[in-house]
């Protein structure tokens, strides 16, 4: 057991898995000589050689398409998209090919592929280094979409993703990379997809979040706790499969629910969570569902003042929690 940052957990786990399974190949922009712009593959080139650690051309379509080919050859590609914002040239390959190959071939072919990408804002990344992309992919049957937000989950879910016989979009929040530390067991373990984690138990209201926003939500909940308001905070971790059971159980207990996410609110993940609550727990609710999400603006601006305007923060979450608790 060691305490480490989230990025360290990603790095160490990936290295461990590559030592165990030589079908694993890492590919992407700057993953080899540079060890990744966030250092997720630092030292890999030296340890695993340039056949298993491949600097690709600057072409995300290529990264996705070549990875699919490798997966079809029963390799275990772990592709890195340098920033989630740059995944879109590969959108067609991911959505039309990776996601649909098992289904369209009636189970004859499969694509055991992991695509890792750093996402999320609050790092002065402006419009093109701050985006959240989970909603696009979670909408696509055939893909799994996970967003670990603790070092523990980063490890367990990365191993799970590599073992998964289907394509997994594995998203890492940039701002959690070094700011979030936690204990990581030395032994190998997996974290099952489709199981949310109750990060804080509470009885007064349910707050559903994931990624950076779940950390902010826990912080906000602690503030309310001082005033005797007990918030249950759920970290979804996996968007597809989505663990609505945990959410609905919590809502049945607290009768109030809010969903916090930094992606654009409209048709973001919170829309699906709210919809499923409206379908399945309507009469459990004592207050309208509350969603806190990014404004309908094309991603976060650069200048600090503007960025702050966009991104939900602990203060705002706290405020909304108090409002909802007092409803």
């Amino acid at each position: 057991m060691a305490e480490m940052t989230l990025i360290q957990a990603v790095h160490d786990t990936l290295a461990e898995e590559m030592r165990r399974d030589d079908r694993i190949v890492v590919l992407g922009e700057d993953v080899a000589a540079r060890g990744g712009v966030f250092r997720a593959t630092m030292g890999f080139l030296e340890e695993f050689g340039e056949e298993r650690v491949i600097d690709t051309p600057l072409d995300e379509c290529l990264i996705a398409g070549v990875s699919i080919g490798l997966a079809l050859e029963d390799m275990r590609p772990v592709a890195e998209m340098q920033f989630a914002d740059f995944i879109f040239p590969g959108f067609n390959q991911i959505v039309q090919e990776a996601a649909r190959i098992r289904y369209r071939s009636d189970g004859d072919f499969q694509v055991p592929l992991v695509i890792r990408a750093p996402y999320g804002g609050g790092v002065h990344g402006a419009l093109y280094h701050s985006q959240s992309v989970e909603a696009f992919f979670a909408h696509v049957p055939g893909l799994k979409v996970v967003l670990p937000s603790t070092p523990y989950d980063a490890k367990g879910m990365l191993i799970q993703a590599i073992e998964d016989p289907d394509p997994v979009i594995y998203l890492e929040h940039k701002k959690t990379y070094r700011s979030i530390k936690g204990e990581v067991p030395d032994e190998r373990y997996t974290v099952e997809f489709g199981k949310a984690a109750v990060r804080r138990e509470g009885s007064d209201l349910t707050c559903v979040a994931y990624g950076l926003m779940h950390h902010y939500s826990v912080e906000a909940a602690e503030r309310l706790a001082k005033d005797g308001i007990d918030v249950e905070v759920i970290d979804l971790r996996s968007i597809y499969p989505l663990d609505m059971e945990t959410v609905l159980t919590s809502v049945a207990k607290t009768n109030k629910v809010m969903i916090v996410y930094e992606d654009n609110k409209f048709l973001g993940v919170g829309a699906e969570v709210a919809a499923q609550i409206a379908e399945n727990a309507l009469f459990e609710l004592d207050a309208p569902v509350v969603r806190i999400g990014g404004p309908h603006v094309p991603a976060m601006p650069y200048s600090s003042a503007l960025e702050h305007w966009f991104l939900p923060d602990v203060d705002r979450i706290e405020q909304e929690m108090r409002k909802l608790a007092g409803y």
Binding site: V25, E51, R52, T56, P57, D59, C61, L62, A64, G65, V66, S67, I68, G69, L70, A71, L72, E73, D74, M75, P77, P89, N92, Q93, Q96, E97, R100, I101, R102, Y103, R104, S105, D106, G107, D108, F109, Q110, P141, G142, K144, P165, D166
Partner: protein
């Protein structure tokens, strides 16, 4: 006399090879004619024709080693699929959307070839995506030290997508055992080559650090020769090649199309005279491998095979709607 005209011996092709290549070209042609007839009868809602491309497809596919090499074709490649091991029944099961369709069990449109056991990688409709899969598979073969070669086929329209560019670039950088075969029939649906391709397809190869050649796709031996040289180079570790086979499709793009809006009847007539099957028959007769009688026999046999395939496919079962939720993920049925 025959010696002088013999072009196949130097290519390492035996008589049996030629006869089998010819037989498959006939099968493809008759499958095509039959699927159009079925379409007119209202029994096949959607048809993708191959006629005109048989020489390019059979010639290029023949250069690969079945059971070892990998095929990443596109929808036009009916004749290629036959080389790789599809039967007429398989073809018509696909046409009718039957459970026994090896490509997709009736899930995909006809002509979306794929079958793991025949080394044909599942294909989709979005153009040129298979080129990158082929590059990835070729990389996999290389990393695994298997001496298999990968082929990918596409129309000249397919060269416009970024996927093609990426596959060319990656194959060139990593000297992959990949053969990229362009079946240039001069039209992408209605769009003429001149509005599709700046410059010439095969001339792009140099800019990606690989050899590029062009040849008469309606000549099955030329198609074979150019591809075989490339496959041999690839197997020897000398990297990828781009091959442009110039050809023509005789029918409309698909049964949803009407080519009279964009191709003159004269042009079509002109190209029908260059029919790859007739051309090959001339050759086979010239080198005394067939005569008029064997040709008739073989044509009849092929027609019979096709008719039997149609019958078997017609009698085959439709997929069970209860299976429609399977194979979204390995581990769960969804609804």
């Amino acid at each position: 006399m025959a010696r002088r005209k013999d072009r196949h011996t130097d290519l390492g092709l035996k008589e049996e090879d030629l006869v089998e290549m010819y037989r498959i070209m006939l099968l493809a042609r008759y499958c095509d004619e039959r699927q159009w007839a079925l379409n007119r009868q209202g029994k096949a809602p959607f048809v993708v024709p191959v006629s005109g491309h048989e020489g390019a497809q059979v010639g290029s596919a023949w250069a690969f080693e079945r059971g070892k090499d990998v095929f990443c074709p596109y929808y036009r490649d009916l004749a290629l699929a036959l080389v790789a091991g599809f039967t007429p029944k398989d073809v018509f099961c696909g046409l009718f959307g039957k459970k026994d369709d090896p490509s997709s069990g009736g899930r995909q449109m006809p002509a979306h070839w794929g079958a793991r056991d025949r080394n044909i990688i599942t294909g989709s409709s979005p153009i040129a995506t298979q080129c990158l899969h082929a590059a990835g598979i070729a990389l996999g073969k290389k990393l695994k030290r298997e001496d298999a070669v990968v082929g990918t086929w596409f129309g000249e329209g397919g060269t416009s997508e970024g996927d093609w560019h990426g596959a060319m670039n990656f194959a060139g950088i990593h000297k992959l055992p990949l053969i990229l075969v362009c079946e240039n029939n001069q039209y992408a649906i209605s769009v003429h080559e001149s509005k599709q391709v700046a410059g010439r397809v095969f001339e792009r190869a140099k800019g990606y650090g690989m050899p590029g050649v062009e040849g008469d796709g309606n000549d099955v031996l030329v198609s074979y020769k150019l591809t075989k040289e490339a496959v041999d180079r690839a197997r020897a570790g000398e990297g990828p090649s781009l091959i442009e086979l110039r050809t023509y499709r005789f029918y409309s793009h698909t049964s949803d199309d009407d080519d009279r809006t964009y191709r003159s009847r004269d042009e079509v007539e002109e190209w029908r005279k260059k029919d790859p099957i007739l051309k090959f028959e001339e050759y086979l007769k010239g080198v005394n491998i067939v005569d008029v009688a064997t040709i008739d026999e073989m044509r009849e046999a092929a027609k019979t095979d096709v008719a039997e395939g149609v019958k078997a496919a017609d009698e085959a079962e439709l997929p069970d709607p209860a299976t429609a939720g399977l194979h979204v993920y390995a581990d769960a049925e969804v609804s």
